[in-house]
């Protein structure tokens, strides 16, 4: 971590060119300690790519990445465990770092997955698997947590609970969180900064204009809508089907 400020990772005008096509271009962002930065955007808008650039999975990129921490917890968007590899949740928890049994239990309880500890990873449901993935990423007490659609496959009530949990984790560990959500409209009100991507940064800002939406209040109740809210914004341009930018 840099001494003078709390910056964990800084992307300066990064882009990634693959097969003569820019997956993302001109993205700049910083994640600081204790901060939650959310990337939103439609499928194929480069959210995952941006996150992977930030943590150094994609190399040969344009622009510059400055990373000030090596303690990273990562929840990938997709993970498939081959049948040939017998793996229980408890084996998976110690995949990248050896942990005490206590630390494993603590992390699993935190995400409500302790009862899954001795289950085989192949037998988990989508939502259970997400909880385990999140528990594993949190268990090593990272300084930077990168969550690629951490609530996919989780039911509605579980989704709210998990978003709440992510907020709690960021406060408890005082870590920076880079969160990806494919849902354009659902963003945590706890988010400090939102970037809307579509191959480039469409718009970004602090979600002070996050509105309390009546539909969510109806759906999840008053309390839930304090956790979950809508980030309302307007674009000064639209995209054609092939991603070309059209000014309004």
């Amino acid at each position: 971590m840099s001494k003078e400020n709390n910056i964990l990772v800084k992307l300066i005008n990064v882009g990634l060119l693959r097969n003569q096509k820019w997956l993302v271009k001109g993205v700049s962002l910083t994640v600081e300690k204790g901060q939650i930065v959310t990337l939103i955007g439609p499928n194929g808008s480069g959210k995952s790519t941006t996150a992977k650039i930030a943590i150094g999975i994609h190399k040969n990129i344009e622009g510059k990445v400055e990373k000030f921490t090596n303690k990273i917890g990562y929840v990938p968007q997709k993970i498939s465990i081959d049948w040939t590899l017998p793996l229980r949740v408890s084996d998976f928890m110690v995949l990248t770092e050896n942990l005490s049994d206590e630390a494993i239990n603590e992390a699993l309880s935190l995400t409500g997955a302790k009862h899954l500890k001795h289950k085989s990873l192949g037998n988990l449901s989508g939502g259970e698997f997400q909880r385990v993935l999140l528990a594993r990423a949190v268990s090593k007490k990272p300084e930077l947590l990168v969550l690629d659609e951490p609530v996919q496959g989780v039911d509605f009530t579980g989704e709210i609970a998990l978003y709440k949990l992510i907020k709690e984790i960021s406060e408890k560990l005082n870590c920076g969180i880079l969160l990806i959500s494919h849902d354009l409209h659902t963003v945590m009100s706890a988010t400090d900064f939102v970037l809307c991507l579509n191959g480039h940064v469409c718009c970004s800002g602090t979600p002070k204009d996050v509105a309390m939406n009546n539909e969510y209040k109806v759906l999840f109740g008053e309390q839930a809508s304090q956790t979950l809210s809508i980030y309302e914004h307007k674009h000064d341009h639209t995209h054609s089907d092939d991603g070309e930018i059209k000014k309004n």
Partner: protein, 267 residues
């Protein structure tokens, strides 16, 4: 005690089984069986080099297999051919070139069958030293790179993101593959090495619910295969390398019944 050819064969086979067990697990997990085959085929070229330049066969095989592995990695990056076509290209080219070179070395008496299917009964003390010494080194190195290698086997991006350097682990593992082929060629021969890596591991998968158990059962399966194979080859006068692999197959078939039982229990 190593005076008896059969004792030497047993000791050699046991040494190889200890190493093929854990390596075989990674071959199955990472879907590298055809890669193992390719390296094994290239071993023939290694043997001809050893005979031509009068160097140790195991060392020569190790060098040639490593070179083939490096060529493969380069080709993967620089051509658009799919991986399996590249493997086939290298495997059969190496085999063909090896046989052609043997044709030129007509002044040397040469047992091709022993090379293809193993000649465990002809193992000498030097071979034993190479198998146990080389095997120990392979296992120690594997132990050292276990964490990054295993993590990247589960998910490459996770390992990369959390700073485990999976590319280095993969490169080292490739060298270990070349090494195991070099030390086990005399036991089961180049056509059957992949079987020794895969079949006990496949059996182990049917009996295990954790990676650790799978490695242990894989070693035990390899050891049993060597014992059953060697004793039956002595009893029925069958070729020993193929007998070991046949024994492994026999164990695998038995392990299938265990699966059926577990499935029935679950229902």
């Amino acid at each position: 005690m190593f005076d008896d050819f059969f004792i030497r064969a047993l000791v050699a086979g046991i040494g190889v089984a200890f190493v093929t067990g854990p390596l075989g697990c990674f071959v199955v997990w990472r879907r590298l069986s055809y890669f193992g085959d390719t390296l094994a085929h290239s071993a023939l070229l290694g043997v001809t080099m050893a005979l031509a330049f009068e160097i140790n066969i195991a060392i020569s095989i190790f060098i040639i297999s490593s070179v083939i592995a490096i060529i493969l990695v380069k080709l993967e990056k620089n051509t658009n051919l799919p991986g399996d076509a590249l493997l086939g290209l290298l495997a059969h080219s190496a085999l063909a070139v090896g046989l052609v070179v043997i044709g030129f070395l007509s002044f040397i008496r040469f047992d091709v069958m022993g090379l293809l299917f193993g000649d465990i009964l002809a193992v000498n003390i030097d071979d034993l030293i190479i198998i146990w010494g080389g095997g120990a080194i392979i296992l120690i190195v594997l132990k050292l790179i276990w964490k990054p290698l295993f993590a990247s086997t589960v998910n490459y991006e996770l390992a990369e993101a959390e700073g485990l350097n999976p590319d280095r682990a993969k490169a080292i593992f490739t060298i270990l593959m070349a090494a195991i082929i070099a030390i086990s060629i005399k036991i089961v021969g180049l056509l059957l090495i992949t079987g020794m890596l895969i079949i006990p591991t496949a059996m182990a998968r049917n009996l295990s619910d954790t990676p650790r158990k799978m490695v242990v059962y894989s070693i035990l399966g390899g050891l049993l295969s060597v014992l059953i194979g060697l004793f039956s080859s002595l009893e029925f006068n069958t070729p020993s390398g193929p007998s070991i692999i046949a024994a492994a197959l026999f164990l695998f078939i038995i392990s299938l019944f265990k699966i059926k039982q577990t499935i029935q229990l679950k229902n």
